[in-house]
Symmetry: C4
Subunit: 209 residues, 4 copies
Amino acid sequence: MHTYGKLDRKELEVEFSRIVAFSDGVFAIAITLLVLSFEVPGSGAQLEQGLEKQLPDLLAFVLSFAVLARVWVFHHRLFGALDQFDGRLIALNFLYLAFIILVPFTSDLIGEYGNERIAAIIYAVNMGVVGLVGAVMLEYAFRAELVRPALLERRFYYVGPPAWVLPVAFFGSIPVAFLDVQAAEVMWLIVFVLGGLLSSALARRPASD
Amino acid sequence: MHTYGKLDRKELEVEFSRIVAFSDGVFAIAITLLVLSFEVPGSGAQLEQGLEKQLPDLLAFVLSFAVLARVWVFHHRLFGALDQFDGRLIALNFLYLAFIILVPFTSDLIGEYGNERIAAIIYAVNMGVVGLVGAVMLEYAFRAELVRPALLERRFYYVGPPAWVLPVAFFGSIPVAFLDVQAAEVMWLIVFVLGGLLSSALARRPASD
Amino acid sequence: MHTYGKLDRKELEVEFSRIVAFSDGVFAIAITLLVLSFEVPGSGAQLEQGLEKQLPDLLAFVLSFAVLARVWVFHHRLFGALDQFDGRLIALNFLYLAFIILVPFTSDLIGEYGNERIAAIIYAVNMGVVGLVGAVMLEYAFRAELVRPALLERRFYYVGPPAWVLPVAFFGSIPVAFLDVQAAEVMWLIVFVLGGLLSSALARRPASD
Amino acid sequence: MHTYGKLDRKELEVEFSRIVAFSDGVFAIAITLLVLSFEVPGSGAQLEQGLEKQLPDLLAFVLSFAVLARVWVFHHRLFGALDQFDGRLIALNFLYLAFIILVPFTSDLIGEYGNERIAAIIYAVNMGVVGLVGAVMLEYAFRAELVRPALLERRFYYVGPPAWVLPVAFFGSIPVAFLDVQAAEVMWLIVFVLGGLLSSALARRPASD
């Protein structure tokens, strides 16, 4: 798939915007399919009990929605920073999207089996890979100088450390899950919030330059 | 996620339109997933009886489609009025979308369990929060002066009271549901129609200025 | 929802294209959800027999895909002809989309119950209404002079009779279905093909003016 | 549906981009629906065993995602090369999309029944037709001179042989499947990788001209 040379964004506005639109489509569908993890209780069941059983699904929904929203913002900023694109970036972007697509499944899995180690690890791997490929994509965009020249020197503040919060948090939770599954899940939440604060703090700085 | 300063819409046309396109994608998918509440009766069942049982699903579909259509028009007008956007607006928009995504589930729920108080309340909360976050997003856009300057003084007529019809109608129906579930559901319809008339009446006025 | 005055397309490029993009999103999702009518046979079943049972689903898929494709082309041409839009057109467009959204369900229904009168009638009503609202939308766009001035006098050749093929074919098949369900279904195919030829013939004429 | 004369892309930017956007929507939805082939094991089942049973689904997901990604890139390049479009191209594009839409079903089928000849053949036919229609669409675009003039003479290098890798690989695997189903499936992988290398090699050449 490395069949493009470096292509200028302005010359190929339609092509560039197709990649972005396709990615947004996948994001929008994957995030909306999260709703499928909720099930209307069967007609024989007691409604309230059936709904109570879905509280873990609601927690999984909130977490996965929040992570995907942040990942979308990250993707949004990355592609907003690009001046050019090439085949390698498109290939990385597809790898990224493949793991985005899996989220409705792995999210449903922790909603149903939140206490099971294997479910927590699958979810952590899924989200960790999303974060990792995102960070690699960002690194690649800077190294291959696909981003707007003005941004090249603001790399650290712009998207540096925050890009690594997600993979570190989720991969870091895997050994924790071997000790205690709930602890790993709490870790996701804590690091997610801390990461949000770190991200905001760093992002605000260059704005005040 | 508050990582943007105020960003000008024209300077960042692609970025702005991505937010809008992503939101539209979520709206379009959520509204289309409403169809999943209909089930083709199983091969053993009597077809006509199986279809008759889905009449409440059809009512739920009509109501939810109508509400989502109006909510989309509201969102459409709000983003059409924007001159700028910032991270807080994006965060609010994601909160908004999270509750849009839940509609196919809560709509299916009232289709199956329209006589149950708990189902009606869950639906009312879902739609009420959609309306509330929409109204807050609108207020914020005006206060933070993200809208086009020409619109700032036409705030009341432009989108003021109509923005509050939805949350008032749906949150207001919750105490009613404790007395009588059907009454709450009738209330949704009445207020929805009245709200439509109010909205039209106010909207027509500034046009004749 | 009649809250817009006449709005010029060029002045409000983003708003206009959002309506189109939203409609396209709904079309794309509805047409893709047609795949959900196919079911992978359960693990206990004989695979070949399970697949053979889905041949009617395949026919329903082909028909529904072809109709939706034509309807999309119609919608595409209509919106391509517009110079302006107003709230009434948006409301009609939503009504249109509501029936587009139902197609995956009604298509699945005739795939499963193609020999049942009630299923054929539901499908015919669904497609008939899609055709009818489309034709009304077209008429309205011409009467309210929302189309490009140059097209106003070419109304008959441009989209006149072909717009009525779909509603006439599908509503006309309903009385036929009371006599013979299969005959009604054959009628869909015949009229669909004839309609295609008529449409091509008329469309080619003004091109040679 | 052959109701368009040749239309210039720049004159009808909105119309052209709608075709592209609609296609991208269908691609994005079809590729995301691949996730539906994974099932969260039922609550009574042993989780790990239930997940192990889904390893073939994962292989099917990887293969189908990779093929669809490549097909999207192909479509992307083809439409990026167009200067004009006509009704015949739109009709071909719809035929193309019809088979894209079927992929989530046929992919699920080989995930569940990878050892069954009939499943492998259905998948191979589906992907083969996608490849074939793609190649025909490309040929047509060049013959009808819908592509940018500058590209007309670079036809061979630009998209010639790589366009035929997919249909040859998948149709070629059908007789192989009659001898040995696994061999046919291995063939998909080998030819897919070789095709990727061939495609890259050829694509790089004109870039260095």
